[in-house]
């Protein structure tokens, strides 16, 4: 859906990059197996991160090689064995469906046509995910409605709008139980806040042109370009959220995914934020070498 939470590839050890790819492929495989072929297309890095994060230290990995529709000849290495894969797959179906719904409602008819078709294709997958995770589904629906209301009134508090999206993501911590649930809640809350603000900065120019609501534009009273002061303020607040994520993550037990996750937190996310402020996120997304 967004793809902002990704590792800084050149700084990953080869073995960690292989692991990351294996997790990505496993999540894709899980989506296909549990929700059908169309669901494979919603695969992204953010939910791969979630799967790695939810992988418990006591869940053993089963690594194997499997064929996939994209690579039918050469089998791809994959890693299974965590409930986190299923959960991330289910949550990503639910979240994507509601985001599509949003765009169907808000965008002009022709632009929303793609979303309409995607929603139709995802229909069965969504029904299945909804039946499996009714609480998460309800929570996403409620938070997005509240977010929509704030957007309608052109809310000038960046935190207030980001809070609704953050609360939506922190619902992903439910059922972890005990201390872990508190830790996940904090991680997902600030992950959501970080994603929401980074996304708003990334879309600023386009939203200004189209006259759409944008939380950062609203925060700075409709200025269409960020000055030095505004940029610094936003960077400071993003780094602060990231620091809170790092401190919370440090309280979880180490797993086989720790090295990849640390690369994402210490290098990947700061690099993405930096690129978004420079207007160069597209290069990262398309894998243009630096």
């Amino acid at each position: 859906m967004f793809g902002y939470i990704r590792p800084l590839r050149p700084e990953l050890k080869v073995k960690d990059f292989d692991r990351f790819k294996a997790c990505y492929c496993s999540l894709c495989h899980t989506l296909g197996k549990e929700y059908g072929l169309p669901a494979r297309f919603i695969l992204n890095y953010d939910f791969t991160f979630m799967a790695m994060l939810l992988w418990g230290e006591d869940e053993p990995e089963t690594c194997c090689k499997k064929r996939c529709p994209v690579s039918p000849v050469h089998k791809k290495p994959m890693c299974f064995g965590s409930e986190g894969l299923s959960v991330s797959a289910g949550y990503s179906v639910i979240l994507t469906r509601w985001k599509l719904m949003d765009s169907v409602r808000d965008d002009p008819f022709f632009k929303a046509l793609g979303s309409r078709i995607a929603m139709l294709l995802l229909g069965r997958a969504y029904k299945k995910a909804q039946a499996k995770y009714p609480d998460f589904d309800r929570c996403v629906r409620e938070r997005l409605t509240e977010l929509d209301e704030l957007e309608q009134e052109n809310c000038s508090s960046l935190d207030r709008t980001a809070d609704r999206f953050a609360a939506l993501l922190s619902a992903a911590s439910q059922n972890a139980g005990g201390e872990k649930e508190r830790i996940y809640e904090q991680i997902f809350y600030h992950m959501g806040r970080w994603i929401y603000i980074v996304d708003a900065v990334n879309d600023m120019e386009e939203d200004a042109k189209r006259g759409n609501f944008n939380a950062v534009l609203a925060r700075y009273g409709g200025k269409t370009e960020l000055g030095d002061v505004e940029t610094r303020e936003l960077k400071v607040t993003l780094t602060h959220s990231l620091n809170l994520i790092i401190s919370a993550y440090g309280l979880l037990p180490k797993t086989n995914w720790t090295d990849v996750i640390e690369n994402i937190l210490y290098l990947g996310m700061p690099q993405v934020a930096e690129a978004v402020f420079k207007g160069e996120f597209k290069n990262i997304r398309d894998g243009v070498p630096r």
Partner: protein, 201 residues
Amino acid sequence: MNDPYKVLGVSHNASQEEIKKAYRELARKYHPDNYHDNPLADLAQEKMKEINEAYDAITKGTAYTSSSSNSSSYNYGYSNSQGSGYQSGYGGEFAQVRSALNSGNLSYAEQLLNSSSNRNAEWHFLMGSLCYRKGWLDDARSYYQRAVSMDPSNNEYRQALNYMTMSGNAYRPARYEYGSQTDACDICTALMCAQLCCRCR
């Protein structure tokens, strides 16, 4: 009881130096500065206690003792059990707000602040603290800034604002230290080369 070596993440035949290094790294990780006003501060405090006990158990070669009088660990931080609370000795109108914030009762603190008509510097500071606890970092900074501009001589307000402009604090392993990535690698490469040379002979 957890194996103290496992707690510190070292092997059973690790040298004193390795144990000390592992302990220091973990103490840096769970340092109270990284969990200032953090909803998870209690968990970090527990971790710190655990590694202090593990270090004591190993260095003294004894089982766990909770005696702290002659403990050999550094016993970093968390001197008061509350972590870093808001001094509630202030008295006055906002004493109740401070104690609500300390006990984590955010909705009560919010209710008290909203019903107060006295919008002075302290009100703005406490409003900032409330926002901070909710994770509303941008609003928190604005309130702290307002508090400082209304009462520039107050140290508590200035410190809070300062912490926000620093983006808080978090642990970074040495290999992810800002700007030192290449340096660390260079040192490693140099050491590896040196070792190779030694082996050649």
